[in-house]
Amino acid sequence: MASTETVLKPDHQAKRKHFIFTDEHEALRESIRSFVLKELTPHAEEWEETTFPDSVFTRMGELGFLGLDKPEAYGGQGGDYYTSLVLAEEIVKANSGGLAMGVAVHTDMAMPPILAFGSEEQKQEWVVPAIKGEKILCIGITEPDAGSDVAGIKTRAVKDGDGYLINGSKTYITNGLRADVIVLVTKTDADAGYDGFTLFLVPMDAPGVIREKKLEKLGMHASDTALLAFQDVRVPESAVLGQVGKGFYNIMWELQGERLIGAAGCVAGAQRTFERTLEYANERKAFGRSIGHFQVIRHKFAEMATKIESARQMVYVTAWRFANGEYPVREISMAKLHAARVAVEVADECIQIHGGAGYMREYGVERAWRDARLNRIGAGTDEIMLDVIGRSYGL
């Protein structure tokens, strides 16, 4: 029989590995973390001003971090879905939301549709060098007049001899300035409704592709976000990604993976900010004691920890479904909605706990809020998530 002491003693410090992860995942986590802390984090401040350099891609390519869950046939590591989750979680330790986003767009947003729908030639041409970090990918969905309403896009691809002529514009494109190729969503048949969309792989150096401007943003400053124009861009038939007319469905599929990875990043980001703030609350004194020892502040931490834990469990369980072949759109939307909100709420509360210091750039917590704030807008706004979830009940 166990003694009372051993049964009732809380083990808050014990390391708990979630059941979706194996020892191999933890080893991978260690190695990504040490790379991030050694090679990325020290440059975070500088990259806020300059955007992160392309060499981050080549270095991560060398280390095999850009193809963790991608097939070995194309240079990937052939790992399971959770390996990409591990990357999304550990890269936030670079303290640079913009960097994490730039990498995620490459590995988890632009690459999956090429692997899923691309021809063998397309995979060899783009995925192989992308996994090496030698070519950078981006994806173009949003337009100045069509954000949430993806079906409202106006970029047209018109059949022209043995190829297509593309005209239109895309905005808020992450990696838009540095990318070598864009996965471009176009309309090929204006009268076909959802069956009128087609994806293309358009090289960014093709004549008529114009990088109109680098956009200045609230946060994510380490990332280059671009407004792009396509003026009579001629591409061959072989540039079509997947089937003509299936683009809308393919992009909706792509968005699911993107949202789940985004949600994982949100949880990890919130955890990071929580920990940094916890340290601050233990050190900072007011009215004769550490501020963490005031009940109100202690409860703020308790609330944050509970929110983070709830979001983490949602993400992990949904990832488990996804990795086991389910297509849980409702749960992914819930996880994305909840994790994004939690990330923003936690960052905001951490600013408040820091007081005046929280408002200063020096402490980095205001940046955490600015970076996190994108998650309630990008990859489908809160409102779109609510719509998807609501409609999933037949409403």
């Binding site: 949003t142 007049d145 069509a146 954000g147 949430s148 309403d149 409202g152 905005t171 808020y172 956009l215 200045e216 943003k217 609230l218 946060g219 004194k285 007011a286 009215f287 109100v296 502040i297 905001d348 600013i351 408040q352 007081g355 005046g356 929280g358 408002y359 200063m360 750039r361 020096e362 205001e366 809020w369 600015r370 704030r373 994108l374 309630r376 807008i377 990008g378 706004t381 809160d382 409102e383 609510l386």
Partner: protein, 380 residues
């Protein structure tokens, strides 16, 4: 439309002239001042030219001889500049740096500092917060040691609005070793030898030159002691009510403007074949924002009315500060959300407004301090 009490038609006339002036003379440059993280000192001269730096001050110092209500009009309208940092710089000068001189200064100090401040020739700052004493004013460490003819000041102040540009800093110092609220005094410190400023970069209020100011063996003459020796805590407390009301008024102005602009955006921007305002979820969000802006105004005007009538309105002012600052930030955040991707871009006004509004629940006494004050007032 008739004026909302406590304002009268006379105040509304002032409002429309202030608004016209701001929209003509200040707003057009706001975006570039934000980008440069500095607004030019001439802004003070321009405001002084319109009599706007001395609305509540007596004519003998060059003021307009009005009262707090006139200044309330100005403070609410400052939101229309479109730069929280510029509004903050102006606000620090008229709402927090000069009032202690007006209330506690000698005739000679008023002539030397208040009069040129009203003319826009001297810019003021108030220095209370220190790196290790924010909410906890009792733990100030900047010392003023008695020397022949005055004091020698050592220490540093932080988060000081107008901290780089200010010609004089109304500074809280320790004049005895005694702890707590006793032994705090105020000195008017001229920028000069031993005074150095370093500008701080912030989430918002970018056009403001918020700074850390260091004092190294700064000699301050006896004639610059403001108010009675060792009784500075009273001086700190004396202006808190107005400072907090001014913050509430700033929020009221900013919320109204943001609501109007966002509603307009929602009427124009279309998605799924109709203006986004015609989607029920967005319509209801906007309805809530309109209600929130109205609530903030009512709560603030009630506190303002009591304050101006000479009531002891500590509770109402504290509530107004607490309620409006969080509400203002939440409204801005929701406006940002309604703007979608555009809301995240610097090109639009809304992300700047959200960043600026985030200071509210921290500055001028954080939300937590407001709740502490309320707790005591409510006998809890």
């Amino acid at each position: 439309m008739s004026a909302t009490p406590p304002f009268t038609d006379e105040h509304e006339e002032l409002r429309s002239s202030v608004r016209g002036f701001i929209e003509r003379e200040l707003s057009p440059d706001a975006q570039s001042w934000e980008a440069e993280e500095w607004f030019p000192d001439e802004v003070f001269a321009k405001l002084a030219g319109q009599g706007l730096l001395g609305l509540k001050y007596p004519a003998e110092y060059g003021g307009e001889g009005g009262d707090y209500l006139h200044e309330a009009v100005l403070v609410e309208e400052l939101a229309r500049i479109g730069s929280g940092g510029t509004a903050a710089g102006i606000g620090a000068h008229v709402n927090i740096a000069t009032p202690p001189i007006w209330k506690f200064g000698s005739e000679e100090q008023k002539q030397r500092y208040l009069a040129p401040a009203i003319r826009g020739e001297k810019i003021g700052a108030l220095g209370i917060t220190e790196p290790d004493a924010g909410s906890d004013v009792a733990s100030l460490r900047t010392t003023a040691t008695r020397v022949d003819g005055g004091f020698l000041v050592n220490g540093s102040k932080t988060y000081i609005t107008n901290g780089v540009r200010a010609h004089f800093i109304v500074t809280a110092v320790k004049t005895t070793a005694e702890g707590g609220h006793n032994g705090i005094s105020f000195l008017i410190i001229d920028r000069g030898e031993g005074v150095s400023s370093s500008k701080l970069r912030k989430l918002g209020w970018n056009a403001s030159d918020t700074a850390t100011i260091s004092f190294e063996d700064v000699f301050v003459g006896q004639e610059n002691l403001l108010g009675p020796l060792h009784e500075g805590f009273k001086l700190i407390m004396a202006n808190f009510q107005w400072e907090r009301l001014a913050m509430a008024l700033g929020a009221v102005g900013a919320m109204q403007l943001a609501y109007e602009r966002t509603a307009q955006y929602a009427r124009e921007r279309t998605a799924f074949g109709r203006p986004i305002a015609k989607h029920q979820a967005i319509r209801h969000k906007l309805a809530d924002l309109a209600a929130s802006a109205h609530t903030a105004r009512c709560v603030t005007y009630d506190a303002l009315r009591r304050f101006c009538a000479g009531e002891q309105a500590l509770r109402e002012v504290t509530i107004a500060k607490l309620v409006t600052q969080r509400a203002c930030f939440e409204l801005m955040d929701e406006c940002l959300q309604i703007h979608g991707g555009a809301g995240y871009m610097r090109e639009y006004w809304v992300e700047r407004a959200a960043r600026d509004a985030r200071l509210g629940p921290i500055g001028g006494g954080s939300d937590e301090i407001m709740r502490e004050i309320l707790g005591r007032l409510l006998d809890l």
